[in-house]
């Protein structure tokens, strides 16, 4: 029996104080993934009065089972790495808010941040590090059948599809990881891939052949997910011929990449066509005093070590900005 104990959140949380609506912070960090947590360490060590707002601590890292490319650890599971990040932030003590979503942000000499419970905070500088979330297909049936066969977390939900036919949508690393969770227990796994080849890392693709119950439909897209009380079939369209066909399946795992969590700063800072916040190499956005770091930005390549590095950079830029103000 494994125990995925999240010890830090019980012991060290005493070092966290709630955010204070009456205080003016030097720097407010939005998001608590690798970018936000790294930024926090840098800001506090520079003596800034710092607050951090986190919806789910660890961000995407908490969703990852094994990490083999974060330096210092040959292999570490996501929850454990998050715990270590949090521990490092906690040793300093910080004003901290978890489990809340940021609704909107305003610019100006003093920046404002509004949470989903209506509270608002003010700060001289902001670091946006809200990362990315799962992308949805946006087809009929997806929303209605979520939790009724439409799933996004394979390590959570794969066991419910034992002996069933399952569709995995996507051809990247996370789709292949879902296939590896499902193929040993499902009767059949059908991968529906938009492109003409899979884009996952070679090691993950090579493993597919060993299963014998996995097939790939290339250049197909999902048009609709059908079912009553649970998923019964997936309608797919051949992108070359336009012909649609129906795959009978009890489950659909959607792993088609990610979208930036930047909706709440729309109109405040400039973004590219996919909603990523445009930054320069010092993590400046188009707005003075608003910095951004990690997966929510245009930084090329989305990795933990990169997001962490960007968080450090954004923090140092923000500290410089605040020091110039005073």
């Amino acid at each position: 029996m494994d125990f995925n104990l999240n010890a830090v959140s019980f012991i060290a949380e005493k070092n966290f104080s709630r955010l204070d609506i009456k205080k003016t912070y030097d720097i407010m960090i939005l998001g608590g993934g690798p970018a936000g947590l790294t930024a926090a360490v840098y800001c506090i060590r520079k003596g800034m009065s710092t607050g951090i707002i986190v919806n789910e601590v660890g961000g995407q890292v908490a969703w990852t089972s094994g990490i083999e490319n974060y330096m210092g650890y040959r292999h570490i599971n996501g929850v454990e790495l998050v715990q270590k990040f949090k521990e490092q932030v906690l040793q300093f003590g910080i004003d901290y808010e978890e489990g809340r979503r940021i609704e909107s942000v305003s610019s100006g000499p003093m920046k404002g941040v509004v949470l989903d419970d209506g509270r608002s905070f003010s700060s001289r500088a902001l670091i946006i590090a809200t990362g990315k979330d799962m992308r949805r297909l946006g087809v009929p049936g997806e929303r209605e059948l979520t939790g009724k066969g439409v799933a996004f977390c394979s390590i959570c939900d794969a066991p419910f599809f034992s002996g069933k036919r399952v569709v995995v949508v996507g051809g990247g690393n996370s789709a292949m990881e879902a296939v590896h969770d499902l193929a040993p227990i499902a009767s059949r796994v059908i991968i529906v891939q938009f492109l003409e080849s899979l884009t996952a890392d070679r090691v993950l693709i090579d493993k597919l052949e060993s299963y014998g119950n996995v097939e790939v439909l290339y250049e197909h897209e999902v048009a609709e997910i059908r079912g009553g009380s649970s998923v019964e079939s997936v309608e797919v369209r051949d992108r070359k011929t336009g012909k649609t066909s129906s795959i009978s399946a009890g489950g659909v795992f959607i792993q088609i990449g990610l979208v930036p969590n930047s909706g709440f700063v729309k109109g405040v800072v400039s973004m590219n066509g996919s909603g990523e916040i445009i930054i320069d190499c010092s993590c400046n956005t188009s707005e003075a005093g608003i910095f951004a770091a990690g997966d929510v930005t245009t930084v090329p390549f989305k990795q933990i070590i990169i997001a962490g590095g960007e968080g450090a950079k954004a923090a140092l830029s923000a500290c410089e900005y605040v020091m110039r103000l005073t």
């Binding site: 125990f3 104990l5 929850v79 419910f160 649970s230």
Partner: protein, 213 residues
Amino acid sequence: MPLFDEKISAQLGDILKNMDGAVNLAFFTQEFECRICQDTGAFLKEFSSLSEKIKLKVYDFLKDGQEAGRLGVDKIPCICVLDAGGDDTGIKFYGLPGGYEINSFISSLLEVSGKKEPIPDDLMKRIMAVDRDVHIQVFVGLTCPHCPSAVAMAHRLALENKRIRADMIDAAVFPQLAVKHSVSGVPKIVFNDREEMVGAGPLAGFLDIIERL
């Protein structure tokens, strides 16, 4: 063989030092134990040895039917979390809270012991205003990283208002029940066998559903 390795035991011991008062655990199993009942019993024995504030009592589901009835236990293995005086808190774990669920188990022990994070006033008012019987069943899988937060929220509601009861249910241990509630994704939260929610929402989301039951 001990279930917890040295590192985990040490960490658990440290965390449990934060308990304010005592907590009683009533564990329901039966004479001819199912495998998972045996494992859960062993887990609890080891776990309760980590702090003298945790008092474990083992009951036989059939022979101690009266106690099972009093606490509303209807299947095993079941762990009821009772307060220092032995009164029911409405908090139950059906199955072994291992994997990620160890976190929800610890958080319920800390909270029942008196170590509670404050709930914002407006939400607290809504919790106290619930004046009918509410039964929350949270179906989980032990490999699900975000299930414990749903369990902890349901249990916190139970702790704050006597009319609310909340169960963690390991879907792998109670497959028929999971099928009955068509669980195919976790956490799945069922309210009074009528309303349901998939995924761990905020506390306010739980209250929105409870208020329209």
